[in-house]
């Protein structure tokens, strides 16, 4: 199993984009994990020190309340990564279960589930998220739930499609004839085959979730203060753009690098696991 | 219409492993109104010859020498755009995969019009439409007026190949190259499509270069045959002469490989196993010295390694030549 992961990594290293992605992802992870630990307390307000340019003491400068931007940006990065991983994992699981169930059940259940997916997808993502957060109130749990709902249709549709194509495979019929109970059938045969492409989809979606969370935080409907989010940092910077543009630039560049890194990495993972492309690397 | 002749064609491919001399000194001719079957295994270079004539070779290919004589005109194939002006006017081509020959977002009419606008620019409007309809009818497509407005995905493989033949008909070329036109079709459709291709020869009197790996097809439809092996031409002559008296051991072996069907019993009861030619094609970057075929030949002698065999007349027929120093030996 370890060798599988190692060969995956070496495949990713081989493409130039993948290399950049991997480097960025590692840098981001280090920043997110160790940043807040090494730096100054991110919530420490010191108004006289506001709007300082980067210095040895404040690596990324200070914001409008004199808080250290390095640690706040690290905190925001951490939040972005945590939220995106949780959302993606949750929506993958729920989407997979619902999708497989719909594919297996057929009939009205299937039609109902598909209609549900279509309705969610009928809304532009951010608009729906903003509306739901505005109506149901902000808060970490709500944020997770709302953004997860946005992504369930994607995973659900893919799981359903995979299930439908697997259903008619001879080996499934064989197992059923032997008398394997349905639940075992799903657990043993369907889920493993369905999970593969879903995980690739998940890795491609991480940057999308990060962007949505940043956008929501930008308009004040995401991560709430005093917790830092890359989006809210950008918003704070934007509000005081005339006084100092440093807070904006620092967090905006970080957000861009985070999305760039995760996208490149996600694409490299997709290309490396694509059976059609595997031949090229050998 | 006065026939096509290719002399001294040499084509090199530049690859990562070095220069591959894919086609070496090929000389063949298709008489006016005659069908020449060019046969060979995959990798023998037959398709490459066709593409070189049309000037459609890949970027890493180069014609180092060779000429095409079309009627009274001579073209130096080593010049990059030598035959570009002939395309669609004096030369036409039918490709192997009928499902990929037509652009899916353009109607049949658009395809035919493109040929007509280049070949007969003075025919326009209604006359052009009628010409297109007639061409479709001639190649055996039903309801041609309706088919004209349809798109490729609405036609079967056999019909699409007929459209390709109609396009060739409209181009009225001196030389038609058909690159394995029926390989992707099943047997009954193959017969119909071959009938139309030969029909072209009757209608416009062009020479046809039929590239195929099927000897059966050659036996049934072609006037002359040319056999290629690993980039070299090993035998050429009329189908009758070569079938009756193959001069080159490779040709002999190929003919022996054909499974005959005993009509009375529905299968060949005498042949209990399949004949094969043992061995593989030679390494393209390290060909054997002398005769290219000697490593698989059943009558090779020591001299075969020293001499590159020149074309030798077979059975007193000047048009029948084989490149073997032991023509006639068993």
């Amino acid at each position: 199993m370890m060798s599988g992961y190692l060969s995956l990594l070496s495949d990713i290293w081989r493409s130039p984009n993948g290399r950049i992605g991997l480097v960025l992802v590692i840098a981001i992870l280090l920043f997110a994990i160790f940043g807040p630990v090494l730096a100054v307390n991110p919530n420490k307000i010191a108004v006289p020190d506001r709007f300082q340019a980067p210095s040895f003491e404040h690596l990324l400068g200070t914001d409008n309340l004199g808080r250290d931007l390095f640690s706040r940006t690290a905190q925001g990065t951490r939040a972005a990564l945590m939220i995106s991983l949780m959302v993606v994992a949750l929506s993958l699981l729920i989407g997979a279960l619902v999708g497989v169930a719909a594919g297996m059940a057929g009939g009205w259940v299937d039609r109902g589930v598909t209609a549900f997916f279509d309705i969610i997808s009928a809304y532009p993502a951010v608009i729906l998220a903003m509306g739901l957060m505005a109506l149901y109130g902000t808060g970490f749990a709500n944020l997770l739930l709302v953004v997860t709902i946005l992504f369930i249709p994607q995973f659900g549709r893919m799981a359903r499609a995979q299930t439908l194509s697997l259903r008619h495979q001879p080996f499934i019929d064989a197992e059923r004839i032997i008398g394997l109970p349905r639940a075992r059938l799903i657990w043993r045969h369907f889920l493993p085959n369905v999970l593969g492409p879903l995980i690739v989809l998940a890795s491609m979606n991480i940057p999308v979730v990060i962007t949505i969370e940043a956008g929501l935080s930008f308009v004040g409907l995401g991560v709430q203060p005093p917790q830092a989010s890359l989006g809210s940092l950008i918003k704070d910077g934007y509000t005081f753009l005339n006084q100092s543009w440093w807070p904006t630039v620092g967090s905006a560049v970080t957000l861009a690098l985070v999305t760039l890194g995760s996208t490149l990495f996600g694409e490299a993972v997709r290309d490396a696991t694509d059976p059609k492309l595997r031949g090229h690397h050998k | 219409m006065s026939g096509a002749a290719i002399t001294g064609l040499n084509i090199d491919f530049a690859t990562k492993a070095g220069i591959h001399h894919a086609v070496r000194n090929v000389t063949l001719s298709a008489g006016p109104g005659r069908i020449l079957g060019l046969v060979g295994e995959s990798g023998s270079g037959k398709s490459t010859v066709a593409l070189a004539l049309m000037g459609l070779l890949a970027a890493n290919a180069r014609v180092t020498a060779g000429a095409l004589q079309l009627g009274a005109d001579r073209f130096d194939l080593a010049q990059p755009q030598a035959t570009a002006a002939l395309r669609g006017i004096r030369m036409a081509m039918i490709f192997q995969d009928p499902f990929a020959s037509l652009n899916p977002v353009f109607s049949i009419r658009a395809h035919l019009n493109e040929v007509l606008s280049r070949r007969s620019p003075d025919v326009t409007g209604d006359a052009r439409r009628q010409t297109a309809v007639d061409a479709l009818a001639v190649v055996g497509i039903d309801r041609p007026e309706v088919r004209l407005t349809q798109y490729p995905h609405e036609l079967s493989g056999g019909m699409r190949q007929r459209v390709a033949i109609a396009m060739a008909l409209l181009a009225r070329p001196d030389l038609l190259i058909a690159d394995e036109p029926t390989t992707a079709l099943d047997a009954t459709v193959e017969a119909q499509v071959m009938k139309e291709i030969c029909g072209l020869r009757d209608r416009i009197g062009c020479s046809i270069l039929l590239i195929t790996h099927s000897l059966g097809l050659v036996a049934e439809h072609c006037d002359d045959i040319a056999v290629m092996y690993a980039g070299e031409l090993v035998e050429q002559g009329s189908v009758k002469a070569v079938a009756a008296n193959p001069g080159h051991p490779y040709t002999r072996a190929l003919l022996a490989c054909e499974v005959t069907i005993d009509a009375a019993r529905g299968a060949d009861a005498r042949q209990s196993r399949f004949r094969m030619i043992p061995g593989d094609l030679p390494d393209p970057f390290d060909p054997p010295s002398g005769c290219i075929y000697r490593t698989r030949c059943d009558i090779a002698i020591a001299d075969c390694a020293r001499i590159v065999p020149p074309p030798v007349e077979v059975g007193g027929d000047a048009a029948h030549r084989a490149r073997c120093i032991r023509v006639g030996a068993r």
């Binding site: 009928a122 809304y123 903003m130 934007y238 | 459609l56 395309r87 652009n103 609405e154």
Partner: protein, 321 residues
Amino acid sequence: MPALGRFIAQRLAAALFTLGGAILFLFVIIQFVPGDLVSILLGPRATPQMRAEFAERMGLDRSIPEQVWLFFSRAVTGNLGEDPISHRSILDMILEVMPNTLQLAGCALVISVFFGVALGCIAALKPGSVVDTGLGVASVTFITTPAFVVAIFLLLIFSLQLHWLPVTGAGASDDPLDRLSHLVLPATALSIGWIGYLARLIRASLLEVLSEQHVRMMRAYGVPEGRIVRHFALRLALVPMVAVMGIGIGDMISNAVFVEIIFARQGVGKLIYDAILTRNYPVVQAGILFTVVTYITCNLLVDVLNALLDPRIARSLKQAA
């Protein structure tokens, strides 16, 4: 073209069905909001009299199916309610700012398609060249940077630092040049991501088409290379682009909200945002409804356009010997 007509009718029915579902969904969401429905919808500013009126108008005393019917019929006839603060028709409010958003989106669409296709073609016609690799790097950067980040950078550099272009607003309504200068930065911000995406898509698509046998066939008949690329290959290569546009419009609508906020353009997006800030839920609800209708309509148009461009979609396969 009866096949095309059938296809359009089919898609129209599906779109209406989805729209119905979306409206129902909106209704359901509102019902489940914790707390007193009337307070939520009218906000904290409502007087008891307003609340009574509102409750009656909303039919809150009637049965659920009747409420659903009321909601639907009002939505369909365009009655989006009344703004509790200004007492203006919300529909009027939306229609007033819609031109700004339409201009922004339209401009962004045109820019994206033009530059995306152009850059994609250039890259495809010279694969492996410096231009191609450069465009590849640029397109990844464009695609991944969120639109609002791009907007802020553009604002920072071109407005605040260089003073080349105006900072906020949509410009005077009667001066087209002024409006144009106010459009440049927001439209660019909105289209950047798309330019990168389309360039990549067209590059891959065109490269694939150029390697196909029908292109060789056209060359074999002497069609000049320029005509092959411009007329035959491009038409086929553009097909996947239209299919992809449907989703893209949703992204564009979402991003338009941010861009309008950053550049302080009065548009539908900013309207919704301001309403969220002031807890003006009737406007929020109406705004979302409007957005959904627009999105579904655009998707329908994209589907139809797709069918027009690609004959394989609407016409069924008829096999003949």
